[in-house]
């Protein structure tokens, strides 16, 4: 397993009021993304646990790009990955942030 943690400055705060959201499944070529609203509004933290070693640079690129573009301020994102491709990772991140950006609890 390879573990990485990023604490990034987020230019866009997350919308909505939901406390948390989860999408995806830890299965081959897939990942789960858990999002919680526990950070200061200008911060997005990302924790990654992946079964595939040696792709830190790719993870960093996907995650920093995502946080720069999407409303992720205030979110703690945690990922359990089982060898998903970068496009799948980006899709799950987008789904998770959209889900937590809904109104409700």
């Amino acid at each position: 397993m390879e573990r990485m943690t990023y604490r990034l400055t987020a230019p866009h705060p997350a919308g909505g009021t939901r406390r948390q959201a989860i999408v995806g499944v830890v299965a081959s070529g897939n990942l789960e993304v858990l999002v919680e609203r526990t950070q200061p509004l200008d911060v997005c933290s990302v924790e990654i646990a992946t079964s595939v070693r040696g792709f830190n640079a790719v993870w960093e690129a996907v995650v920093t790009d995502f946080v720069a573009r999407r409303p992720t301020g205030g979110l703690r994102i945690a990922i359990n990955d089982s060898g998903a491709r970068p496009d799948t990772v980006a899709l799950r991140l987008a789904q998770a942030v959209r889900l937590i950006s809904a109104e409700g609890v």
């Binding site: 499944v25 830890v26 079964s51 945690a78």
Partner: protein, 306 residues
């Protein structure tokens, strides 16, 4: 109503859906409250030893909800994580839910999707299966209904098949395979002449929902849709509750008759023919409505024990 990722619940296949999508589409909208949710990160203590990824809910979702306005407890296995297999935490969550059901006298709906015990934590998993069965029987003995839903990718095998057999009512779709030893296990141990694990048609007609429904291994047969599982669950929750010695003795007698009746048959189609079904060979091709009509009057009924 929409599921995760905006997929309409109506268009959802139970077989293809994730455990969370199934839960969302099964119960009354916005009534599900998860216990020991993913944010608590109660993950397996064993998987890291094997350098394997964890899932925040360990592949088992438990909580409470209402269905048709009626309060229930609910558990759902994620069949795509470790094949939905039982480990220490995964199993403990279901054990705890069943003990709560006994204390609260509240019915339980279990969405099975499992290959059995997780090999990486086999001892803990086997113990968990034993604890679940004890908790399940204790809950049933005080009048709690335990309804099992089977139609997922992993089917319901190994210890999961044994647990399912202890439920009050089992609801299965055509995709819902139920067994103890799975196809590969049988082929590995007994040889390809005994069971060809690559023969999908053989697997489906030997272990699939239609066969289980016909021989009393499942009680209600439904389409591969959440709405169908929901309707059948409401029916199951209205059935008589309870488990007593008379039920078990009647079931034992039924199983003895089954061996006498079908013991010399070598294929499921021969069993269906012996049940009195005309053109038994066409059973795998029938849609749900036609199949249930063909089965009526011929199928065996397990009546709350199987």
């Amino acid at each position: 109503m929409t599921g995760v990722g905006g997929i309409a619940a109506d268009g959802l296949s139970w077989y293809e859906a994730t455990a969370r999508q199934r839960v969302g589409a099964l119960v009354d909208p916005r009534t599900f409250v998860e216990l020991i949710g993913p944010e608590q990160r109660e993950t397996s203590p064993h998987l890291t030893i094997f350098d394997l990824p964890e899932q925040f809910d360990d592949g088992m979702i438990v909580g409470h909800a209402s269905i048709g306005g009626r309060a229930i407890l609910l558990a759902a296995q994620e069949g795509r994580f470790m094949g939905g297999a039982f480990g220490e935490v995964h199993g403990a969550k279901l054990t705890g839910l069943l003990r709560a059901a006994q204390a609260l006298r509240r019915d339980v709906v279990v969405l099975f999707d499992t290959g059995g015990v997780r090999l990486q934590e086999a001892n803990a998993g086997e113990l968990a299966v034993a604890e679940i069965i004890r908790a399940l029987v204790c809950a049933r003995s005080v009048g709690v209904r335990i309804v099992g839903l089977i139609g997922g990718r992993a089917g319901c095998y190994g210890g999961g098949g044994v647990i399912a057999g202890c439920c009050s009512t089992l609801i299965a779709s055509e995709h819902g395979r139920i067994g103890v030893s799975g196809p590969d296990v049988i082929e590995t141990n007994m040889g390809v002449e005994e069971f060809d694990a690559r023969d999908r048609a053989l697997i489906w007609r030997t272990m699939g929902g239609k066969h289980r429904y016909l021989i009393g291994g499942a009680d209600l047969f439904v389409d591969d849709r959440p709405a169908a599982f929901r309707e059948a669950t409401l029916t199951a929750l209205r059935r008589r509750a309870g488990l007593d010695l008379d039920t078990l003795l009647a079931e034992h007698a039924r199983l003895e008759r089954r061996i006498a009746r079908f013991g010399d048959k070598t294929d499921a189609i021969d069993v269906w023919t012996a049940l009195g079904i005309e053109n038994a060979g066409t059973i795998p091709e029938l849609g749900t409505r036609d199949f249930v009509r063909s089965a009526a009057g011929h199928r065996e009924s397990a009546d709350e024990a199987r």
